[in-house]
């Protein structure tokens, strides 16, 4: 995704430490040709691009979601393509907050998974902030205080963000969101 550094996938991969050796298999879901909704099952609205493939080792599936309707079977198609190998975990990088809950529900419909959500903040310290926690506001304040602003504009921005966090609008701080999911038995696998 254009606003994120090239090593975002490597950074996200760190969150999956403990699941053993894996290869990363990346996909992208993006808007294809516009068609009438019609019968969504037979007219896929979106393209899938698989652009890295390695052998038959266990894999971590990474998905960049540029646009997603959630009805065209994109996730099922991805998992269909990788069924020959064991999927140890999956993550999706999503631009819009409104898609996150739908994606989590869809994943849980496909398989029992332990899912978590993070906010992606590409500001001075590129951060992946845990959102599925009651400590969300404390952690967001901590991240905000890591940055140093001395200009008037910077200080105004700081206080606006502080107020957004206090009013529970912290999701507006993020340029994207990350959903991670591991199948329930894998969540507590041998490290």
């Amino acid at each position: 995704m254009k606003t994120f550094p090239d090593n975002i996938h490597e950074l996200i991969g760190t969150l999956f430490w403990g699941l053993g050796k894996m290869d990363l298999r990346l996909f992208r879901i993006q808007k294809g040709q516009e068609t009438d909704m019609g019968v969504a099952e037979t007219v896929p609205l979106h393209e899938l691009t698989s652009y890295r493939k390695r052998g038959d080792r266990d894999i971590l599936v990474g998905v960049e979601v540029e646009d997603w309707q959630g009805q065209g079977g994109e996730l099922e198609e991805i998992f269909r393509r990788v069924t020959r190998t064991a999927v140890k975990g999956v993550y999706l990088v999503v631009k819009e907050r409104r898609l996150v809950d739908r994606i989590v529900r869809r994943l849980q419909e496909l398989s029992p998974v332990e899912a978590e959500v993070y906010g992606i903040d590409p500001d001075y310290f590129f951060s992946i902030v845990p959102l599925t926690t009651k400590s969300k506001r404390k952690i967001e304040n901590y991240v905000l205080n890591l940055k140093s602003e001395t200009t008037i504009r910077g200080r105004v921005k700081f206080w606006v963000k502080k107020i957004l966090i206090a009013l529970r609008f912290g999701d507006l701080l993020y340029d994207g969101f990350l959903v991670t999911a591991v199948p329930f038995p894998e969540a507590h696998a041998e490290g």
């Binding site: 310290f125 590129f126 901590y142 205080n145």
Partner: protein, 335 residues
């Protein structure tokens, strides 16, 4: 998942009972291939992290984390400073990449404080404390296993291996020989210093509620036998940077260096007073201020080349500043 990996091994890694809840904040301030991924670990609804995991991005740079682990263990045993360095909990490897778990020191960096407030009575007191801490570390012979990574040869002092770069920049002759001599590590008669190696204001944490230094972090470049007092000069070079950047945001290291040491005589006198404060405690020669400053620039240039190759260009920046210093410091007196 990393979270479960931590929970499972918590007692072995940290030595305390496993917390009920763990949350991970992943950050990276240095996206280059030689940088580390930093994972801050929050537990049980605390507002600040309890520990930090540094995960090496590239297996070739794992030695930095190994050196840091070794340094933290050595400095942690020093009476005057021990409580002001993070506890090193665990050093391990995962999929060939080194990772280090250490205590997280709460607070704000001295860089932020000085940049925000400038030189006030409070920040000057903090700067004095930072200088005194540096003197304590530098002047204490380290103990520990000499086979540890900390004692591995620091190639940044082998200036002769990079002589070509200096000659290409127009530096040669007796002045370069003088710097070479200062940086020589092959002189058993010469005093050596245990240095932090990257002692600048971003690595010095200030307590949130008290006016005191809470801790010193990032010991990746620690060296137990530095041939001259590198830390204080690196501190002074970067103090100029955070002061100049305050009034002119976006200023470069080069611009602030020239301003601090050649334009603003007030800063030059202040930095010399800090050096004298340091020198009295460690027992170094006041008159070598400029030579040590030049040696610091030379070593930093070589370190950039030796560690990162030409990927950063900072080696050229420091060599240029070295040349500038040599050409312009005649006539400037601090006596």
């Amino acid at each position: 998942m990393l979270k479960h990996f931590l929970k499972k091994n918590w007692l072995e890694f940290i030595g305390t009972p496993t917390p009920a809840e763990i949350q991970l904040l992943t950050i990276t301030s240095c996206p280059q291939f030689y940088g580390n991924n930093i994972i801050l670990v929050f537990v049980n609804r605390r507002a600040t992290p309890i520990c930090v995991i540094k995960a090496c991005r590239n297996p070739d740079f794992g030695f930095k984390l190994k050196r840091e682990y070794s340094a933290l263990r050595a400095v942690g045993r020093m009476d005057a400073v021990g409580r002001r360095v993070p506890k090193a909990y665990f050093l391990g490897e995962y999929e060939g990449r080194a990772f280090l778990i250490q205590e997280c020191i709460a607070g704000t960096s001295l860089f932020k404080e000085v940049r925000r407030c400038g030189l006030t009575r409070r920040t000057k007191a903090l700067i004095d404390q930072a200088v005194d801490l540096s003197a304590s570390v530098n002047g204490t012979p380290p103990t520990g296993n000499k086979r540890d990574a900390l004692w591995r040869m620091e190639s940044a002092f082998r200036l002769s291996q990079y002589e070509k770069e200096f000659i290409e920049a127009g530096l040669s002759g007796p002045r370069l020989k003088e710097i070479n001599d200062i940086c020589s590590i092959d002189r058993p008669d010469r005093k050596s210093y245990f240095s932090h190696g990257d002692y600048w204001q971003t690595n010095i944490m200030v307590h949130e509620k008290k006016d005191e230094i809470a801790g010193i972090i990032d010991w990746e470049f620690a060296c137990p036998w530095t041939p001259f007092p590198l830390d204080i000069f690196w501190f002074l070079i970067n103090l100029a940077y955070c002061l100049y950047d305050r009034t002119r945001p976006g200023a470069t290291v080069a611009e602030s260096y020239k301003w601090g040491f050649f334009v603003d005589m007030v800063y030059l006198e202040y930095s010399n007073s800090l050096y004298q404060r340091y020198a009295r405690q460690v027992g170094v020669d006041f008159s070598l201020f400029w030579r040590y400053l030049e040696a610091t620039l030379a070593v930093m240039s070589v370190r950039e080349l030796a560690t990162y190759g030409r990927s950063t260009n900072m080696d050229h920046v420091y060599i240029d500043l070295l040349k500038f210093t040599m050409e312009n410091r005649k006539g400037l007196s601090l006596d």
